[in-house]
Amino acid sequence: MIETWLPVAILMTSLGVAPVILMIPDGARTLRTTVNLAAASVKVCLVGWLAWQVARGTDFEARLPVAPGLDLVLQADALSVLFLALSAVLWFLTTIYAVGYLEGGTDRSRFFGFFSLCVAATVGIAMSGNLFTFLIFFEVLTLATWPLVVHRGSAEAHRAGRIYLAYTLGGGLALTLGTIWLYALAGDVTFTPQGTLGNLPAEHPVTLRIIFLLLIAGVGVKAALVPLHGWLPISMVAPAPVSALLHAVAVVKAGAFGIMRIVYDVFGVETTQALGLAMPLAAAAAVTIIWGSLRALTQDDLKKRLAYSTVSQVSYITLGVALISPVAAIGGLAHLIHQGIMKITLFLAAGNFAEGQGVKKVSQMDGMGRLMPGATLAFTVGALGMIGVPPLAGFVSKWYLAAGGLDAQAPLVIALLAGSSLMNAAYFLPILHRAWFRPPPETPAPRLRRIGWMLAVPPAITAGLILAAGLLANAPFSPLGWTRFIVSLEYI
């Protein structure tokens, strides 16, 4: 039985809500927040229902013919659910946080309208049934995030916005060209487990390699693969909820998710390996992991340090995909969720440091554990998770990645992970040391504002999720359990 309405409903809970929010007057805070949170709650429920149905084996598809041979297709498979769950839950939490964060700010309807549009694009990416649909939502995501990056309106914000657009539209151009080329070669490129290309790799090996390069370069900009990562640290000028959204949920994850779709469901694992494309991709991921960590070591700006950490951590996902081993794939896919909840915790906590005490630099973190214990605790859980301390979520992903490295006969991966974890520790532990073990400055900066529940609760919840995802990793609906289910479909 094929269901149609559920994917459309999930899309509409943010796509349909965006124009409504855009039209609400700026001053009508209660109305806007009610609409926003109602939609976000409905979405969480619908996604939960969808996950349940997908696990039971129901097929979902909604189709709109756009041109002969070009259909807009929304579907839901296990991989979609992974990304949908991440975006639905984190959207809900980030919205609450953003309402508190932007209290008294300007252009809030514009902000929340584009925020919803962003999530709509993310959800569309998650549910795309073919490469054409994926491309459409991928580009919509680019356009919808631009107003968020420039939200502050300062000259610096506009400069960041220009750089962001230059990178992402450039990537979009490569992706578009690759997609059209593949369509010209293969007809409709439907996402199919184990690949959709059939006999083509034998007939056009060189062309397909070029197309792979174009596609990966296109999504690699958003996934911040070195050297396409330059936009990410610069766009840190955006407000904290936007950074959280860019890093944990929407933009970089859309890129990582694109890499998964291209390797798993367009080319297929075997073809990717047969064309000799897996190794270079893994190498690119390895370089990115090292380079991101190295750059993070030297940043004094807290958000920049977190940004370079994202560059590094997102490539764990790519590495898991590129190692062509089911065990590594489990680690990489689970990291899509794990990195999301860890990074959002870090950004929300960092936002609270900046809002509460005006602390934006690592060197100002002295004594934060005493000044803002809640936020510092959440930050600590996130940072330890990133380093890979058991039993937190990051440990689970690293464990599977390392085991996958052995499985793929690439023991170098263990060295890579060890080195990266050491560097993670080297750039996170000094922050924790300052926060917990150094005394606050003699004359601490006056408290800027009270951190209300809207700012305090979301990072606490996500910190709890980090712990839960690690402790309950073996439960059937945990991120790890779900990725095992996905990998059983991609590898036979």
Binding site: V66, A67, P68, I136, E139, W146, H158, R162, T176
Partner: protein
């Protein structure tokens, strides 16, 4: 199928009525436009359902009488004209009123009495152009179209507009003259003047001169680089509604003729192809560079038309044989998307300039004025012009690049992508200012009020935005058989 001739007849009669009964000009204009739009929709549906149709007016057959014919391409162009026309009419009605009021600004009355007859004549001429099957009829419709367009340019009555209108008149007459000479020579060389005459002309010297004359006449009318010199001034100095019509619809007439000629041109089309590709690429480059340097908003939008015409001409020149490929459909889709987006853009610019009191790009960041609906419409239209998904421009570029890859024409793919990058560059000059906020906005800044011009601009811009997802409809029309 007598309603096909009504598509030409009705707007003409309405134009006459609006001229004679000038007090009710707007009423006649509205009635004529709406009725014509209804006929256009009916034509599109019937062509889609039962294929191309042709009628001989008054029952006189081809050599003596005038034959009107409509296939999917013509029906699509007529529908496009109707759609844009409706949007522009909303703005014009709101700007200049439906009826004379007791105390009225004489300028407003003059605009109302001038605009509607001119627009209706333009509509009739365009419909006639799309329905014509031979070059002589086409020449006649071009002549009417050109005169009406000059009138629209001059309508605002400013010194700059009058100057531009005079240049337009001269260029238009030169174009008509070239076309007429070409048609006469073609008739002398081949003995016929239908659209399929081009392949017959390649053998004789007179025929080749005829081809050259026809192509340059069409190029001049279409503002194809480097024959675009008259166009930016004309489009940027007219009233908003008139600019929208000129830029979105009037140049499409000549582009449509170019597409028809090349579709049936056979070997001659092959010979012309690379030359036209060069001109198209030149137009894209030159239009973009001028748009990047333009200091006035309207001028930027007008130069963007030069660049977009270059792109469309590129698509037209690689069109190939309609029986074997679908690349030519890209040209039609790009024309459709450009018409919708450019009309939206000119109407939006009209509103922006009205609120600001000027249209200098450097002065767009006024701290006491928040961005309004018109800026939003401009941004949406820009997305369509750039060709980002999900707009009609995106599907047009998709079909184009798909066809180019099929032909292995990689240099042209590179040109199209370069043109896209350039369009991002010049349009983001304006769009980034539509997102101003924060420190650039004074605390008590006002937001521009909603006007009908905003509604029209947003309506057209959103049509262009979602037309991409609805491309199945125009493509279904284009997939039907073409008349030759």
């Amino acid at each position: 199928m007598t309603d096909t001739s009504l598509l030409v007849l009705l707007p003409f009669l309405a134009a006459l009525a609006a001229t004679i009964h000038a007090r009710g000009a707007a009423g006649w204009g509205l009635a004529g436009t709406v009725a014509s739009a209804g006929l256009a929709a009916h034509l599109a549906l019937s062509v889609h359902a039962s294929g191309p149709a042709s009628i001989a007016i008054g029952g006189w057959a081809a050599p003596l009488g005038i034959t009107l014919r409509a296939d999917g391409l013509a029906a699509l162009m007529i529908a496009m004209t109707a759609l844009v026309g409706l949007g522009v009419c909303v703005q014009a009605l709101a700007a200049w009123g439906l009826r004379p009021t007791a105390v009225e600004d004489p300028r407003r009355a003059r605009m109302r009495m001038g605009f509607w007859p001119l627009w209706l004549s333009t509509l009739a001429a365009l419909n006639g152009l799309y329905l014509s099957g031979d070059l002589f009829n086409l020449y006649v419709t071009f002549e009417i179209l050109g005169l009406a367009a000059v009138g629209l340019t001059a309508l605002s009555g400013t010194r700059r507009a009058l100057r531009a209108a005079f240049d337009y008149l001269v260029a238009g007459l030169a174009g008509s003259l070239l076309l007429l000479l070409g048609v006469a020579l073609a008739y002398a060389a081949a003995g016929r003047v239908d659209l399929g005459v081009l392949p017959l002309l390649a053998d004789s010297a007179a025929g080749r001169i005829a081809i050259a004359l026809i192509v340059s006449g069409v190029g001049l009318k279409a503002a194809l680089f480097p024959l675009h010199f008259w166009m930016p001034a004309a489009h940027s100095s007219a009233a908003p509604a008139a600019s929208a019509i000129l830029s979105a619809l009037v140049v499409k007439g000549a582009l449509y003729l170019a597409l028809r000629l090349l579709l049936e041109g056979g070997l001659v089309a092959d010979a012309l192809r690379w030359g036209l590709i060069c001109l198209g690429a030149g137009g894209m480059a030159w239009g973009s560079v001028c748009a990047l340097r333009a200091d006035r908003l309207k001028l930027l939008v007008a130069y963007s038309t030069v660049a977009q015409i270059g792109l469309i001409m590129l698509a037209i020149s690689v069109a190939g044989d309609p029986l074997t490929g679908t690349a030519w459909q890209a040209a039609a889709l790009l024309m459709l998307s450009h018409a919708l987006a450019k009309a939206a853009m000119f109407l939006a610019v009209g509103r922006i300039a009205e609120e600001l009191g000027h249209d200098r790009i450097s002065g767009l960041n006024r701290s006491d004025l928040r961005p309004g609906a018109a800026e939003f419409a401009f941004a949406i239209a820009a997305i369509s012009l750039i060709g980002l998904p999900p707009t009609a421009g995106f599907v047009g570029k998709w079909v184009l690049i798909d066809g180019l890859i099929g032909q292995g024409a990689w240099p042209v793919v590179a040109l199209v992508l370069t043109g896209t990058v350039l369009s991002v560059a010049y349009l983001s000059r304006v769009v980034s200012r539509c997102l101003r906020g924060g420190p650039h906005i004074a605390p008590g800044a006002r937001r521009p009020p909603w006007r009908a011009g905003d509604v029209a601009a947003i309506g057209l811009a959103f049509t262009a935005l979602f037309m991409g997802l609805l491309s199945a409809a125009p493509l279904a029309l284009l997939n039907g058989p073409l008349l030759s």
